[in-house]
Amino acid sequence: MAVSVDVQNLSKNYGDVEALKEISFSVKKGELFGFIGPDGAGKTTLFRILATLLLADSGTATVEGFDVVKDYRKIRKIIGYMPGRFSLYQDLSVEENLTFFATIFGTTIEENYNLVKEIYSQIEPFKTRKAGKLSGGMKQKLALSCALIHKPEVLFLDEPTTGVDAVSRQEFWEMLKRLKAQGISIIVSTPYMDEAGLCDRVALIQDGSIMQISTPEKVVESYPLELYTVDSADIYRLLHDLKKLPGAASVFAFGQSAHLSFQKGKLSREGVLDYLSKTGHKEVQVKPVKPNIEDCFMELMQKG
């Protein structure tokens, strides 16, 4: 399958800080590829390098076959880039912003209206409003419209859902899926682990290194430990007591329950039940559970 973005041994330092440590990956054409990791993992640095706004210290990167250093002008014509920070013109109206971006790329809103229609039509009723006066969700839709208006082949979205509420986040991902259906390669970053499942493939990134690249399903399948969800009437005390349980590999709060992991054979469900009854816990439940991306991420972090 054809490659859209290819990165080999890319490194970038800021003084003593290693923002990217020899990372390599490649994204296929038409793929929805996610970089999942917290702030400071190196996501923005990577996106800036790929968008030809920043030079790497070493390594190579190509976008649609073009080199990010040599062919930066060509790359800029065929990508759409939505930076993490809102970077449209606050004192231009919604419509003026979109017209501006269309004009820069030598096109018009009318010509590519089809591509942005679904997103833009939601903010079109406010097209005379200044961009600076929009709500968070509307700003995000306008920024995406502006990144799309020249019909890019590759879309880079740096944390498009940060600070956005759960409802708008879900709607945003539904929009991405429909864009993908039009054949656009999409590279998106997010600190929200639950969004990983919506990508074709994900790279889990932390401290400038990629810990794992795979499909979300395979990431979950490769979780190496036994994982149980544990409930008790007193969750706060439960977490403390489980952390003292010999043989436990990790204990983390997950909503109203605790997730307890251990190496196969080190502990058993009966053993855990017995320990919790001895420590005076009530309404105890211990059930095996399928790990989610967050479990996997934390397991990889602890290894590293």
Binding site: G37, P38, D39, G40, A41, Q122, I123, F126, R129, K133, L134, S135, G136, G137, M138, T162, G163, V164, D165, A166, V167, S168, R169, Q170, P191, Y192, M193, Q206, Y236, L239, F252, A253, F254, G255, Q256, E294, F297, M298, M301, Q302
Partner: protein
């Protein structure tokens, strides 16, 4: 006996013709972790600013930590702590300088400041890093430090506005351990978040939709009422009912 540390009755806040808070009525109990949820633009920030004594309500009766939000705003500020993801610490001051600065702002004595700074740095394992600039330390440290500094004067209430945005999942959980600990020490915690699993960690949760409180109860009761498996589903059910975009 349950005492209410925050009492809000018919709070209305208008900006011109726009009603940001539309007759909010709720209480926060002393010592509880109170989750204040809502979609972007639902009116959360407006309400928090009023509760912190930074903005006047248009109308309504409100008391925070026993003080009146119209006439005793300075008293309120002395008795609360505040931390947001955006405003936290001074980048070009060291860890120790930041602690000293905030402690002094809250009027602690010189001796008290030094004592508390030492205890705090020890607790956070930052003793060796005391002279590091904030800009040079990892985000996870910053957030834990910002929280500790927000409660250095033993406030009655601490307001946390999206305190865990962008941090890694392990640090996020360590942060919640600190929240639990503060609540156990009697500090009332008022917290907003976009992570719905964190809503489950609260004693009670309110969900704002369009300037009103659409639901307020324990996470267990909310899950039952809306027949949802988790708080994310509760939130989606309530917030999705509203399709109107708010400016």
């Amino acid at each position: 006996m349950i005492t209410n540390i925050i009492i809000v009755k018919d709070l209305v806040k208008k900006f011109g013709s726009f009603v940001a808070n539309d007759h909010l009525t709720f209480e926060v109990r002393k010592g509880e972790i109170f989750g204040f949820l809502g979609a972007n633009g639902a009116g959360k920030t407006t309400a928090i600013r009023i509760l912190c004594g930074l903005s006047f309500p248009t109308s309504g009766e409100l008391s925070v930590a026993g003080y009146n939000v119209y006439t005793q705003r300075e008293k309120i500020k002395q008795n609360i702590g505040y931390m947001s993801q955006k405003f936290s610490l001074y980048d070009d001051l060291t860890i120790f300088e930041n602690i000293r600065f905030y402690a002094a702002i809250y009027g602690l004595s010189r001796k008290d400041i030094d004592n508390r700074a030492e205890i705090l740095m020890k607790k956070l394992n930052l003793e060796d890093a005391r002279n590091k600039l904030i800009r040079d330390i990892p985000l996870g440290w910053k957030q834990k430090l910002a929280f500790s500094v927000a409660i250095i004067h033993d406030p009655k209430i601490v307001f946390l506005d999206e305190p865990t945005g962008g941090v890694d999942p392990i640090t996020r959980r360590q942060f919640w351990d600190m929240i639990y600990e503060a609540a156990r020490n009697g500090i009332t915690v008022f917290v907003t978040t976009h992570y719905m699993d964190e809503a489950e960690y609260c004693d009670r949760v309110s969900i704002m939709v369009d300037g009103r409180i659409a639901a307020l109860d324990t996470p267990v009761a909310l899950r039952e009422k809306y027949q949802a498996r988790n708080m994310n589903e509760v939130f989606l059910k309530l917030a999705r009912a509203q399709t109107k975009e708010v400016a």
